[in-house]
Symmetry: D2
Subunit: 335 residues, 4 copies
Amino acid sequence: MIIIMKPGQEATIQEIEDRLSGKVSVFTHGNRVAIQGIDRDGLNQQELQAAERIIENHPTAVQGSREFHPEDTVIQTAHSLIGGDNFTMMAGPCSVESLAHVRKMAAVAKAGGATILRGGAFKPRTSPYSFQGLGEDGLKFLRQAADEFDMDVLTEVMDEDHVEMVGKYTDIFQIGARNMQNFSLLKAVGKTNTSVMLKRGMSATIDDILNAAEYIAASGNTQIMIAERGIRTFDNKYTRNTLDVGSVPVLQKLSHYPVIVDPSHAAGHTEFVTREALAGVAIGASGLVVEIHDDPAHAFSDGAQALKPDEYQAMADKAFAIRNLINPAVKVVDA
Amino acid sequence: MIIIMKPGQEATIQEIEDRLSGKVSVFTHGNRVAIQGIDRDGLNQQELQAAERIIENHPTAVQGSREFHPEDTVIQTAHSLIGGDNFTMMAGPCSVESLAHVRKMAAVAKAGGATILRGGAFKPRTSPYSFQGLGEDGLKFLRQAADEFDMDVLTEVMDEDHVEMVGKYTDIFQIGARNMQNFSLLKAVGKTNTSVMLKRGMSATIDDILNAAEYIAASGNTQIMIAERGIRTFDNKYTRNTLDVGSVPVLQKLSHYPVIVDPSHAAGHTEFVTREALAGVAIGASGLVVEIHDDPAHAFSDGAQALKPDEYQAMADKAFAIRNLINPAVKVVDA
Amino acid sequence: MIIIMKPGQEATIQEIEDRLSGKVSVFTHGNRVAIQGIDRDGLNQQELQAAERIIENHPTAVQGSREFHPEDTVIQTAHSLIGGDNFTMMAGPCSVESLAHVRKMAAVAKAGGATILRGGAFKPRTSPYSFQGLGEDGLKFLRQAADEFDMDVLTEVMDEDHVEMVGKYTDIFQIGARNMQNFSLLKAVGKTNTSVMLKRGMSATIDDILNAAEYIAASGNTQIMIAERGIRTFDNKYTRNTLDVGSVPVLQKLSHYPVIVDPSHAAGHTEFVTREALAGVAIGASGLVVEIHDDPAHAFSDGAQALKPDEYQAMADKAFAIRNLINPAVKVVDA
Amino acid sequence: MIIIMKPGQEATIQEIEDRLSGKVSVFTHGNRVAIQGIDRDGLNQQELQAAERIIENHPTAVQGSREFHPEDTVIQTAHSLIGGDNFTMMAGPCSVESLAHVRKMAAVAKAGGATILRGGAFKPRTSPYSFQGLGEDGLKFLRQAADEFDMDVLTEVMDEDHVEMVGKYTDIFQIGARNMQNFSLLKAVGKTNTSVMLKRGMSATIDDILNAAEYIAASGNTQIMIAERGIRTFDNKYTRNTLDVGSVPVLQKLSHYPVIVDPSHAAGHTEFVTREALAGVAIGASGLVVEIHDDPAHAFSDGAQALKPDEYQAMADKAFAIRNLINPAVKVVDA
């Protein structure tokens, strides 16, 4: 149940929280209160009178819903604003390979307009015999490169045991597609104050994504963005995944979280990355997260989908131009 | 086998055709000859010497391939150019409902920049008890409306028995998604001189589409465009289909046919149509085919996905603006 | 609306038919009347009183539904009973290759317990350059072989122009997966008295299949069986399609038509065909349709999925044994 | 590279291990040695002479492959043999609800022939607000019930932090579908001596499953079984997932691990569970894992898919009968 309170009912909201917290889940946002497992019969007379409207038929993922939180979430990090009418470029190598290399990539990323440097130190690889990442050393290199260029860090955390350690180096935790329903990990990052980019699982429905995000929110952290990175369909012969651009406006309608498009993992082949990136911008994504490499043939991982510096720069120029053209994006949310 | 001839070998090409036609399939395009079922051992000494290069490992759908036909196909109808660096808007009602109504819609379509008027007279409906279209009357209304506004007609033909009759009214045959592998129909439109828009089947792979197009080409008609209209995936709760924008550059790389995006059937809900349309433009489609209606709630079919006139106009303005920005689209074809 | 009449209301049923036929669709089955596009307000007082129960919320594909036709449809051909508690083996080569060959295959099929001989004379091939079948000659060979062994013929019809001709030779029309929503063809076979095997499209939902079958029934022919032959999913690397065995009891619950399993097209590789066949039997299919060949390496089409005679015999023995063990199959239909 | 040694080369195998261990991954099985990242050029003359055959083109998931380990893995727990020609029934409630209830269910499971008692104490639920399991108390109840009926315990472990604790109570770790690519968890159970049931992810390909299993094996634990529990497809309206029975023989061909079918999560509705279970047996699965409940309407989780005691007993009787009929299952592995 979501209760939309009449103006000036702060005291009542506090009373509801005091009365019910610890017994059931109670979340508040402005003049709205979401309560799990209780319906209007569980409210007393005074509380009922303080309510302007009660929404009983709301999504399970209530904190992520527009019914509970109508306005866009805008995430603020040291160097970036993500969501709302902002557009954020995030770029970097798939894997952190060395300090020198990640610095070089940071310079490229920054030149193209990126304010966030991505890079993997712990890599979720399909095979146990593939390169698994540089670990904490990689995080140090990534942090140092980002600091040098006044950028924020985005990097993946793969399990709850590493949340504390990775948290020392990153501004934004990335939860990878394969871990989208690793609920223990979601709860663990939910207990931190660090922003989270939740990547859509390969066959995660829209409802699955929003429920996964809700695990993070339910643990206390609502600084969440969602990344569409392509889904599995019946034909992934020519592209690695199928970019589901249509999910962007759907997610934006249902939820207030920023939605980012990752054209690199969707396309899987450099020649299609720019085109998919521009589609993501045109449909109204709040940003892009893109893999770059100066020598893709020798990249430690996923070289086949990396943009080279000049390709990245050209893509970024077009992306910002399209964004300017459509900003503000056509709203799909009812007024 | 595709033989790329040295310059000035027109006579040899003619000799090959004379020698092999009737025995095996022989197709020519400029200085290229495609022969089915024969490899280089089937060529005589003179023919071998006339060849600059022989490509033995080419796609099954050879006529549609870039190996056989490197440059873009540009389709010319009375009022439109489709393909190459052109961008073509196609719009109209899902079903032709009456002469008055289709005229009204033609005016709207034209105002938004459309040169092609779409409308269904024979409707492939999931249920036999749904409205099946006005039939030949619908075609007459559609033709009259298009002529009045100097537009071309695009309409669906559902079976080979109707090819001749529909052909009297239309400039472009539409083959619907459900008929994409109705090979008898493909062969029938392949024997005409009328252009064909082949819509991708709900679960057709890229190779399936190109092979279906090849049925048309093998029957003699190469004026083909392909329409991406969304595919079936594991999540079609919020959108009717999943717009596979990534298929656009893939098809453009593999084949020379124009690729059109249909955001109406992909999105299935008006609120998402404009956004998906813009994604289609940004990724480099050669055009859009969009459903419009002035009173969607009372449309004979698919009202839920129709743009109202003002929505269509706003979409079209943004679409042309994005197209101007990215034109020429980033090429995915190797030089 | 489905009206379940009280006993002895034959006259009222006749009156309803007389009053409404020609205006709307009216179908009768025993004491049940299905009317399209009219609800209970369209009935007069006497008709309402004759009704024991009125079902307004029924599937679109009303004639195929258990609500309209509770008992199993049993199809009777000269040599076979299909549906109900019967189990029917259908076997034969993918393509009819010659009279001698199809006779040889008929002998093998018969020895394994088949009463229906399958074989293709018109072949829907992905590529226009693949073998397209022997045409009418193939049908003659197939008919002759079947007659010699007292078997029925099952063969594909690909378009409405061939319905009459194919109908002269076959006992059961096969509608292929690619034509499942070729509505013109469905209507054409619906106007004949010949039984129809409707194969599920590659991405057809359960509702799609039942609506496709309804096109046949709405045209007057209710002698329909449905064949599950595998669907498209995200992983068809090791099998050609994904056998959706779970669709068998679902279809049997919702509809009264016999459901047949085709393990050959599902598995796509001989080594898995028998195993998938047995799964189909165990889940309660009314029969199997299986491709056999004595020399798969030289088959005109689909040799990779053909069972050799001894493999077929061993499979058939196990299939009948499992069927005996589970017959009658566990009912999923409410009493 | 897999080296198949000539007979009597134990000393050479030992030398290879001594020489390479610590530098690259070396695994041995009988007279076979698998080495990662080195090809035949990395062997010395004596080693090359000791080799009967060297397989360089093998699956990435080498330890799971038949090339490395030709014979079936048979897992032995206190009360069960799993794999090979054995057939193992596993049953129990979705969630452990209380000691009394799980004891009752254990009695039912045992009566139907189960030797393994399944039950969830840590539940991976789509929504954070759903029942998350009884935790360690649940494990205690489950262990006690299993011991009383001389059964083994199968229960899910959701994260690496719980591996040690859950390991104190269970005989077999279950890795849930959502965690199939939670590589940290796979490595953690791979370091134990406890058997593992790895459930297939919702959109995991066959290769994905085998690589996930390889993470466990690469960490030292090869007592692995794989469970097919249904995949996501375009139509999950009537069943919760699509049981991919065809994956059973494919997995058995490629790998030596036992393959178990879970018809409960596949079907999702009680009425279809028995039918899907029998399909799983007929196709040759090494066992079934089935959810049972005496009062499904009040189950803590997944009541809709639980078999009631009498339904379970009837299913189990048919399952064992079919298994007897087809045992040994038709082999898909080349001799």
